[in-house]
């Protein structure tokens, strides 16, 4: 279980407890947090669950798998702290993780 903070583009914060084994994307969708569309449902085939990971957390996450950066090329305004939230698996180690949502996903 990890407490995750999702911050919308307008600054609105949502702190939710997400079960281990779910992804950061699922944590948002299951709690009706706006700003993450996840059109493809988590198969790394779209780029609509794009988040910016808070600076001090970025390096603590497991590295991007092959293909994630290719999808991020197709995201809205990606930067060096961009991740697809469907590829971040929640565990106890992620307690306190903070992600920012982009202005829009599509």
């Amino acid at each position: 279980m990890a407490k995750i903070k999702y911050i919308e583009h307008n600054g609105k914060e949502h702190i939710v407890e997400v079960q281990n084994g779910l992804t950061v994307m699922e944590g948002a969708v299951q709690n009706d947090i706006p700003g993450i569309d996840a059109d493809c449902g988590g198969s790394m085939s779209c780029a609509t669950c794009h988040v910016y990971v808070k600076e001090d957390w970025y390096d603590k996450l497991s590295k991007k798998e092959m293909g994630e950066d290719d999808m991020l090329d197709q995201a809205y305004e990606p930067n060096s702290k961009s991740r697809l939230s469907c590829q971040i698996m929640v565990s106890d180690d992620l307690d306190g993780l903070c992600v920012y949502m982009p202005e829009k996903q599509v």
Partner: protein, 337 residues
């Protein structure tokens, strides 16, 4: 005006199998899809990715699944209207009049929406200023490459479309290629070629840059790009081309008076009809308690929607359930003995 029993919107696996089921029960249909090829997400998003949860098919790719569905549908000779999008739905007596962007018109008692998450459209530049040049000097696809001759062209993206066009246009245009990172997802041979052209100063390569602004009076004159550190550069450009892949947009479906739940359409699970009589929704675009976004669920939904269509297409006939193994009528329709 094309008269038919059913218009299917979307040629993904769900739409294709629904068409097959319509053929089996003796109905005609026309299939419209915005993409230039049959297969929907399977062919556009993951043609090479293996799928492991199609019943009785341990493993197949999106492309193989599509090809098999097309083959299964072959006996019925249904028409596909590709590169076209259903724009308007209008009720006229007992029929729906369906109009497409290319001006085609259908008259039908049934419309089956199998549109996935909507139609695929190119992702555009995030900069507001690019909108006023959209379609003239800011482009997301190329129809006539001769317009770029002896012009300055700024190409954005790191996939095959961006790389292939950068290579091709560098023969007769001044090409700048801009990409947000050092690595490219295009074919290794193309990446090698791009680096070689960059070394020879035939193209200007800017990596770790993205668009900041586009400028021009009437026509595009220059574009400004920025690095993540905030450094800006200005490049002369007559054209800016963006190749950022495709996004899915619900588009005109949202305007047909259907009940919507976020981006999905609620249906009843008896025949997958929506709140409008004769309009059905199946596959990823429909929702109901317990909905799973699996291809196999789409197949089931399509089979039931097809029976739902029968009622309106043949109001004076009673639908009779038959097995393909036993029915001579079905064997005739399939052209098998």
């Amino acid at each position: 005006m094309i008269k038919t029993d059913v218009v299917i919107i979307g040629a993904g696996p769900t739409g294709l199998f629904c068409a097959h089921q319509l053929g089996i029960i003796g109905l005609k249909c026309e299939i419209v899809d915005n993409l230039d090829k049959i297969g929907g997400q399977c062919i556009e998003l993951y043609p090479d990715k293996p799928i492991y949860d199609i019943p009785a098919v341990p493993e197949c790719t999106g492309e193989e699944l599509t090809n098999n569905l097309i083959k299964q549908l072959k006996p019925f000779n249904f028409n596909f209207h590709l590169n076209d999008r259903v724009q308007e739905l209008r009720k006229e007596n007992d029929n729906w009049i369906v109009k497409t962007t290319n001006g085609k018109e259908f008259s039908t008692p049934n419309v089956v929406i199998a549109g996935g998450v909507g139609s695929f459209e190119p992702r555009k530049f995030p900069t507001k200023s690019a909108e006023k040049f959209d379609g003239t000097s800011v482009l997301y696809s190329i129809k006539d490459k001769t317009i770029f001759k002896n012009k300055s062209v700024a190409i954005f993206g790191g996939g095959d479309s961006a790389l292939d066009w950068a290579i091709e246009l560098s023969n007769s245009s001044k090409v700048s290629l801009i990409h947000r990172r050092d690595e490219f997802r295009g074919a290794p041979a193309s990446v090698k070629k791009i680096k070689e052209l960059s070394r020879k100063s035939i193209i200007n390569l800017f990596t770790k840059y993205s668009i900041k602004d586009v400028k021009g009076n009437g026509t595009l004159e220059e574009i400004e790009i920025k690095s993540e550190e905030g450094e800006s550069k200005t490049i002369k450009a007559d054209y800016a081309l963006g190749f950022f892949g495709l996004i899915m947009q619900l588009g005109p479906i949202a305007e047909w008076g259907l009940n919507l739940d976020k981006k999905t359409i609620p249906v009843n699970t008896e025949n997958f009809e929506t709140n409008k009589k004769g309009i059905f929704a199946i596959g990823d675009i429909c929702t109901y308690p317990g909905k799973l976004k699996l291809i196999l669920s789409g197949f089931h939904e399509g089979a039931l929607a097809a029976r739902g269509c029968f009622k309106y297409a043949r109001p004076n006939e009673k639908y009779r359930f038959e097995f393909t193994t036993a029915s001579n009528t079905i064997k005739d329709r399939l052209g098998v003995k």
